[in-house]
Amino acid sequence: MAEFKQADSVLEWFDQRLGVVKFAKVMMTEYWIPKNINFLWAMGVLLSVMFAILLVSGIFLLMYYKPDVNMAFDSVNYTIMQEVGYGWLFRHIHAVGASVIFLIIYIHMFTGIYYGSYKKGREMIWISGMILFMLFSAEGFSGYMLPWGQMSYWAAYVITEIFGGIPLIGGDLVVWIRGNFYVADSTLTRFFMLHVLLIPLGIIGAIVLHFYALRFPHVNNVDGEFFDFDKEAEKYMAGKHKESKVVPFWPVFLAKDFFVLGVFLVFFFYLVFFHYGFAMDPINFDKADGLKTPAHIYPEWYFLWSYEVLRGWFFPVGPLSGKDLGLLAFGFANAIFLVMPWLDRSPTVKPANQRPYFGIWFWLMIADLMVLTLFGKLPPTGPNAWVGFGASLTFLILFIALPFVTMAEAKKAKGK
């Protein structure tokens, strides 16, 4: 055992035992971030804060929520919303937060795509991020079931039914997921478990991995410039603050993030208190009724694009039914972002506006995702069905074309 001398201060006492001074340096004051960034680089901190807000509000909700088909609805809408002091506040924060966190996730994700922050050593950042996206999707879906309203019930019904399309095991799989032949109490209690324990554990693990994955390749910057972080850090520590290309995470990077966070929170709390209908669907204030199908069933907004990819295929092609095709397209759409680093065959790391072909591809993809999202909510009748089909097909084509587009772009760059 090492020799311990008498500590002169509380800090030193902890430092002797936990190495807190070194830890603070590694995590904060000597964790280097490029200086050449814009406010889009603050989304990671926004997401961390949002996750903390969801965790805390969720803990308060958990104290009063009752995962039982006979009690769930009233435990949310009466006990929490009306009886418990500020219960309504925690529910509003949790419901609106769950919706808004996806907006920030999408901004974060498309920022990564726009600036090419997923390749040349940054693959694991991207992959751990996409794992987080999938975990958050599962968390959002399982949480949406808990208030046990009409939309909770029917969204659960429709989404679990999707697995029935998988060949051979589909039917059994649906029963296995639901724990019953229909969406029932067993479904609610297991999704409750997933929502409050298993998926959050996975999310926390994936967040740690995501942060860790940033350590070696470092954060990208607005020009995609590669430089020696150690050299720039030395410059900074030698006092050449203006000359160095990096800044420490604390206090410099966070000073900017706190400002972006402040502006974001004004917007967020406006939604929480005054404009929450988009995240708390009116139909979900009707108690779940398995015998009464709502006229319109739609998922939350952040799932609309992939729901529309699924729904776009409404007619059979050869031996495959529309449902089969939709399921294939849906599987493709949900997996394809994961392999983004290998679809982009160009070695260039530059923002999309400085890449001739990829720039066009990026904005086409954004436009297509917008069309998918908008039509994902509209009833799929008449011309809407064909727009949905067109947008779904476009999505597939865009991603199949991406390797060729980027290869052509790389060739063009070489030719210069």
């Binding site: 009306q82 900017k256 400002f259 929170l265 004004v266 406006y270 208190f273 994902g376 009833p379």
Partner: protein, 292 residues
């Protein structure tokens, strides 16, 4: 400057998305219908310009109405229990204490003349059909006599206070014979199984209708249910605009009881966030001055 451009792009994209999936999609799924009509001027069987005679109205009411209806305020108490009354009529006949106040005058007169047409229930009670509406039409009465009855009912109706207690009185008189409101601990006065036989369905509990339907929908729906939900068993009840507002206010007081608290706390929290953002901006300027 570049950052503002990026922000502008974000705002435009998110704004377009929001418009499409919220206001626009909802306008497609729930097309606008004819606005609420509180004049009930489709009903023209009774000349409502006639001035009613309260004294004569009292005589007519005592001769024609109190065999089935209680009028507590005039001393005619309910004779049967709720269960027995429901069994006898299908649905509990209303106490007429508040009817002169909560119902529109034109509606009430035409209702007495012919309840089924006034309530737009011809699809449930077609003329000469097997089932008859429990209350007979008084279309044999003179318009003057009907207006006398209306004048009498208006004269005895007690005023209510402009608060939750008053709203509750109106709600109970207008809705509570068929609808329960669990969050206000109010059960429908007609027993559930009797109602289901009578209407074909159990009417929904109204605890959360202010949220699930919203004020805008309720405003049109209560005024004329057939417009938004053709074929529904719910009759047009003929509430005056004021009475309907009291009913909706009560639904909000029960279903969204924390609204006032939410709106006041909201301003404080947003104010705090603004201060936080301003302080963060000043701190950011101070810190980044050293590195730029």
């Amino acid at each position: 400057m570049k950052e503002f451009k990026i922000l502008a792009v974000l705002v435009v994209l998110v704004g377009a998305l929001y418009y499409g999936i919220e206001p626009y999609a909802h306008s497609v799924m729930h097309p606008e219908v004819a606005p609420a009509n509180f004049a009930f001027d489709d009903l023209k069987n009774v000349d409502t310009s006639l001035k009613g005679n309260v004294e004569n109205g009292k005589v007519l009411v005592e001769a024609n109405c109190i065999a089935c209806h209680a009028i507590e305020t005039a001393g005619h108490l309910q004779i049967m229990s709720n269960v027995d009354a429901a069994a006898a009529y299908g649905v509990n006949p209303p106490d007429l204490t508040h009817s002169g106040r909560i119902y529109d005058k034109n509606f009430l007169a035409n209702f007495i003349f012919n309840p089924v047409t006034a309530m737009k229930l011809e699809h449930k009670y077609p003329e000469g059909g097997a089932k008859a509406f429990p209350m007979p039409a008084y279309n044999w009465m003179q318009a003057q006599e009907i207006m006398d009855i209306v004048a009498y009912l208006q004269s005895i109706a007690p005023k209510v206070t402009e608060d939750k207690a008053g709203h509750e009185v109106t709600y109970k008189a207008a809705c509570a014979r068929c609808h329960s409101m669990q969050y206000a601990k109010l059960d429908a006065t007609t027993p559930g199984d009797t109602l289901k036989t009578y209407l074909g369905v159990t009417p929904p509990d109204l605890s959360q209708h202010i949220k699930s339907r919203g004020e805008h929908y309720l405003h049109t729906f209560i005024n004329d249910p057939q417009v938004l939900l053709a074929g529904t068993a719910m009759p047009r009840v003929g509430l005056s605009e004021k009475a309907q507002e009291e009913v909706i206010a009560y639904m909000e007081e029960i279903g969204d009881s924390k609204k006032a608290e939410r709106e006041s706390v909201g301003l404080w929290v947003m104010g705090y966030s603004v201060i936080f953002a301003l302080l963060a901006y000043l701190w950011k300027r101070k810190i980044w001055k050293k590195v730029h």
